[in-house]
């Protein structure tokens, strides 16, 4: 493969002018349609579309939502799945208490001597959940004896006839005042509070000290297990609380026993 090879190497080789000429021809006269069709360009269009389609989906599902703090392909999925951590009843109650109650009962829960009764170690607070719930939902007026001193105040209502707080918020406040400042009362659950509200929302007059212990139902020992998921969701998402729904839906045995009594 010496001389012959060399000859072959040099023969039938395109010169640059020829390349340019052919190139111009190619540009001016696009390939004429032949019989049948060229498979590749059509396949290429479909492939291109397919790649774009897949790529778009891939970027959306695995692209971490284009966030600087998304570090894992599963970010979008996992990130959306994570619920915002729920605040405890105590924390909710603290917030509501400081906003609504602390003007009179004070931040330390000691009230103002002779005008606003204290909450610390008060039997009204620590005794029966329903008593406390009645006061909160409908308010209270008239004389009341707290820790040996007589007060004659006017406690406003926080139920629908007053400030219209949600059951969860009232339950939070009750839990807070029963457990803060050294108080060691039980927790008032949202479910319990819903039951009480179903019972007393209709009442428009405030309670008096004498009425408070009349007709009370047995105090729930543990949180009511028989919960109603619909109403829970409703309370998480909606601001307004639908009473009708609540009264219709199933409740704890509390209500039934109460109705039987009355």
């Amino acid at each position: 493969m010496t001389q012959e090879n060399k000859k072959e190497e040099n023969s039938n080789e395109l010169h640059d002018e020829a390349i340019q000429e052919i190139h111009q021809n190619l540009i001016e006269n696009k390939e004429l349609p032949k019989e049948g069709f060229s498979f590749l360009p059509i396949a290429l269009i479909f492939l291109f579309a397919g790649v774009c389609f897949w790529g778009g989906i891939h970027i959306v599902t695995q692209g971490g939502e284009f966030r600087w703090d998304g570090y894992h392909p599963d970010f979008a999925e996992k990130h959306n799945a994570v619920a915002i951590p729920e605040k405890s009843l105590f924390e909710i109650g603290e917030k509501v208490f400081l906003a609504q109650c602390a003007q009179c009962h004070q931040n330390n829960g000691l009230g103002v001597a002779g005008v606003y009764p204290p909450l610390v170690r008060s039997s009204w607070v620590l005794d029966h959940q329903e008593v406390l719930a009645r006061i909160l939902i409908n308010g209270m007026n008239g004389k009341v004896i707290v820790l040996g001193k007589t007060y004659n105040g006017n406690m406003p209502a926080f139920g629908p006839s007053g400030l219209n707080l949600k059951p969860k918020q009232i339950a939070g406040v009750l839990t807070y005042i029963r457990q803060e400042w050294g108080n060691t009362g039980s927790e008032v659950t949202e479910e319990t509070m819903k039951n009480y509200m179903a019972m007393y929302n209709a009442r428009t007059t405030p309670w008096t000290a004498e009425e408070l212990y009349v007709d009370i139902s047995p105090e729930p020992v543990a949180p009511v297990i028989e919960s109603n998921p619909e109403s829970t969701d409703e309370n998480n998402s909606l601001d307004t609380h639908d009473e009708g729904d609540n009264t219709d839906s199933s409740h704890s045995s509390l209500i039934i026993s109460d109705k039987e009594q009355s």
């Binding site: 640059d16 052919i22 290429l44 790649v51």
Partner: protein, 476 residues
């Protein structure tokens, strides 16, 4: 070579010779020199994997510095000088014009090589940076940039002085590569060396730099050479040429976006790697068009392929490139990446691009260009053909060793029962195979240098009496 077809083609060639003759030879000779040196570094590095004590008494010959010198001589020495030689020549031919100011080109070429020499000395004495493929010390980067500006501008000027009012695919790639390189280089130097960014941003910019140096500097120029040489040598117009514009734009867009796939699993915002994976997969489109355009054209006349040395090299390189692109796509699959990451597979992937694709294309280009420039062809094609066989054999052995060995390495990394030391010991066979491949490549590269320099010497010896005759004639 012999018998120019028309008078005009002779004129063009003559003008070309007169204007950039010296500069072209300068770049060719320096490219060959750096290539030989780099493969020497590669062999030293390969020996160290089998016998770590080899040359380890000298700090400059420790593995890290040898590897840094290998990378620098490959990219800035062999690849860049080869690009300056071949790309300018193609640009001038296709623009039917000449490269002007060969003198400035020559001086700039000298400056470029001085920068590289300084860089190598810097690496040897320990001034290297911590970033692979840009290890040359930051004080040389300004010199590189200066030299590059003085060199590249003439290629771009040649394009804008073109006499015909259309452009050819080769010209797009070469013009693109010439314009993209300084941008990539400056961004890399600016954010990693001059005013280093902090934290993972460094890794992101580094991945971008490596990717773009490969896919927007080496690849476009080599593709430009393919689009020029394949139709020219096989005497066949490019098949489905009308799709080459789509291939150009899609390759440039997708390849430049696909860089962050090096960082799969790294603590970087995941949208970076996800978009890169998508764009890496999208490379299937240009890859298919390259297949039809380049390999389809080369195999139209298989006889040509047998007889033409340059075409053999270039076709081999094109096939290696298509395979490289498909491996790049496969490496982005998360199931594959979980094995392949941190293994020799990425090293293999780089070798495949730089040697399997780029170097093979440019060997072919040199085997065509040097005889043409000298107007003097090989007496025997035995040694050049041997060079092709050795290069092909060497790179195939090297790639098998690194890909298969890398896969074994990756699966063993993922098996908790096997200790790191055991994994390293299990790789001995593959390391020996790798060294064998590197040694074959070294022999092939030396043969390449030998072939071209004998051609050069023969021409000089032949030219001597003619030269004196010419002088005599002029004097009388």
């Amino acid at each position: 070579m012999s018998q120019p077809s028309t008078e005009s083609s002779y004129d063009i060639r003559y003008e070309l010779k007169s204007s950039i003759n010296k500069a072209a030879f300068y770049f060719i000779i320096s490219a060959i020199t750096w290539l030989t040196l780099s493969s020497l570094f590669a062999v030293i590095g390969g020996i160290k994997f089998i016998n770590p004590d080899f040359l380890s008494a000298y700090e400059g010959f420790t593995f890290g510095r040898i590897q840094a010198m290998l990378n620098s001589t490959l990219i800035m020495g062999w690849c860049s000088n080869a690009i300056f030689a071949v790309a300018f020549w193609i640009m001038a031919r296709l623009s039917s014009t000449s490269i002007k100011h060969g003198g400035i080109l020559l001086i700039a070429g000298v400056i470029w090589n001085i920068a590289l020499t300084l860089g190598l000395i810097g690496i040897f004495i320990g001034d290297l940076t911590a970033f692979a493929w840009m290890e040359f010390p930051s004080y040389t980067s300004g010199i590189f940039l200066l030299a590059y500006t003085l060199i590249a501008v003439w290629g771009i000027v040649a394009y804008f002085n073109k006499e015909n009012d259309y452009s050819y695919a080769s010209q797009w790639y070469i013009l693109g590569g010439l314009l993209w390189f300084p941008w990539i280089f400056v961004i890399g130097q600016f954010f990693l060396n001059w005013f280093p960014v902090r934290g993972v941003l460094q890794s992101i910019i580094h991945a971008w730099y490596i990717n773009n140096i490969f896919y927007l500097w080496l690849c476009p120029i080599a593709l430009g050479a393919c689009y020029y040489f394949i139709p020219k040598l096989s005497s066949t117009p490019i098949r489905s040429y009308h799709m080459s514009a789509l291939a150009f734009w899609s390759f440039v867009l997708f390849a430049s976006w696909s860089g962050m796939s090096y960082l799969i699993g790294a603590p970087v915002p995941v949208w970076l790697t996800t978009t890169s994976i998508v764009f890496a997969i999208a490379l299937v489109i240009p890859a298919l068009i390259f297949y039809v355009n380049l390999i389809g054209t080369a195999f139209v006349n298989p006889n040509q392929l047998k007889n033409k040395l340059a075409l053999k090299f270039i076709t081999f390189g094109s096939v290696a490139f298509i395979v490289h692109l498909f491996i790049k796509m496969v490496l982005t699959f998360s199931s594959i990446d979980s094995v392949a990451h941190f293994t020799m597979i990425y090293e293999a992937h780089h070798w495949q691009l730089i040697y399997g694709f780029f170097s093979m294309i440019f060997f072919g280009a040199f085997y065509y260009l040097v005889p043409t420039l000298l107007n003097h062809s090989f007496k025997s094609y035995f040694l050049p053909n041997l060079n092709f066989l050795l290069s092909a054999l060497g790179i195939i052995i090297l790639l098998i060793a690194l890909y298969v060995g890398g896969w074994q390495q990756g699966t063993q990394y993922n098996t908790a029962e096997i200790s790191f030391l055991e994994i390293a010991n299990n790789l001995t066979l593959w390391m020996q195979l790798k060294l064998a491949g590197l040694i074959i490549l070294f022999i092939a590269n030396v043969l390449f240098a030998f072939n071209l320099s004998t051609l050069l010497l023969c021409k000089l010896l032949d030219a001597l009496p003619n030269f004196s005759n010419d002088k005599l004639n002029q004097n009388t």
